[in-house]
Symmetry: C2
Subunit: 229 residues, 2 copies
Amino acid sequence: MSTAEGARARARTEVTAAIKDEARRQLAAEGAAKLSLRAVARELGMVSSALYRYFPSRDDLLTALIIDAYDSLGEAVETAHAAVPAGEFLRRWTVACEAVRVWALAHPHEYALIYGSPVPGYAAPATTIPSAARVAMVLIGVVRDADRGPGLPGLSLPAELRCEAERMAAEIAPELPVEAAPAMVAAWAELFGLVGFELFGQFEQVVLDRERFFRHAVTRLGASVGLPA
Amino acid sequence: MSTAEGARARARTEVTAAIKDEARRQLAAEGAAKLSLRAVARELGMVSSALYRYFPSRDDLLTALIIDAYDSLGEAVETAHAAVPAGEFLRRWTVACEAVRVWALAHPHEYALIYGSPVPGYAAPATTIPSAARVAMVLIGVVRDADRGPGLPGLSLPAELRCEAERMAAEIAPELPVEAAPAMVAAWAELFGLVGFELFGQFEQVVLDRERFFRHAVTRLGASVGLPA
DNA sequence: CACAAAGCAGAGCACTGCTCTTGCATGAGA
DNA sequence: TCTCATGCAAGAGCAGTGCTCTGCTTTGTG
């Protein structure tokens, strides 16, 4: 009665939030594979079956955590990027990329949840797409602004890819020059390739000064999508 | 007595191979998370506890499969690459990259096992390193040969990265020019970023003509490490 | 040929996700 | 204000998991 939604509904959202919090704690501590509904329930002082009133299955709980992780990463990147003056395109780009890396190092298990191998038999529902796209939107925004501003240098685009590039540009970033679309997607993949390799141990005994190397790589990446130095 | 190693040892290696084969079958069918020692034993007509005579734990079985997967991928890339004339550097590069993609699409679960998120609490032993390095060795070989041949164009290398680049070059590819080392590592990460994104669904509704896009991306990648067109 | 070692089966432990029934407390309408 | 339906938690139980321990049988070898 204290709120418009009624006491019952409010209690429900509170318990739901508490479950997600505890699940996130266990996720950070042990990883997605060891996330157990029973353990979450135990920690919250309830019985395991009670959790199924809030999440119909373990996968649904994971989906909720996935969306939260995408949003957490997206917000981190957006705020870091927003602190850079709009005219410094390359710095906007590198700062956004570095925010991805910093977030990933701070939340390795959540990163693995969203960018690692998908759980078998689990298909991420379409609900996750908007949250998942936030990082890409920031990167696209930088290139779009640079294109409107000083003008992007013409990127090469072989004839056989023209058709696909036009579709890509039309579908994901209508304001982007057609030539930039494939380069953007490739840069996007390299960014997460770099972060994933560092996080998942592939750089062990290969790259030691990770931060410096990463900064160099994303700077080159900015140039590869046509950002002026 | 029929062989030098003795009948007992031979039976042991045969059973070990049978276990790995069945495990690989289940891995391909259901993914690493659903690989169950009991199911493997059941399919082989033995009891679960008997498996522990061959693999001390589930993780040890996974390690064996990981090494096999790295070797399978490495061999696929090596043979595809060997079919290209030594002088066509860019084609050697793209063929090797495309072999990675083809293998990954044919063995998605094994790819996820070696390049996806690591199992929590599981650290890949150093035994896996030689097998894991085979793909990188092929790529390094192409750039090395191109450098000895027509000469690689000078890649830019900021002063602050010089030290790390020298260490990287010395440690992983002594014959490589120092300037090429960071570019190689970045290209390596992008290659697996691209393949991973396609395999793990990140390209859904973003890239449709995957093969064409991939070919374009790895061609650009070859140029980025200095290979002449 | 005898013996020790290797391999096997089976029971059992402590878990997991998930389902079903039962009983209780509480919020909402008469 | 009282009643009643609804939301929720509890607990037992099912089928499965990785892993261990105890005996028993097979088998290669000195």
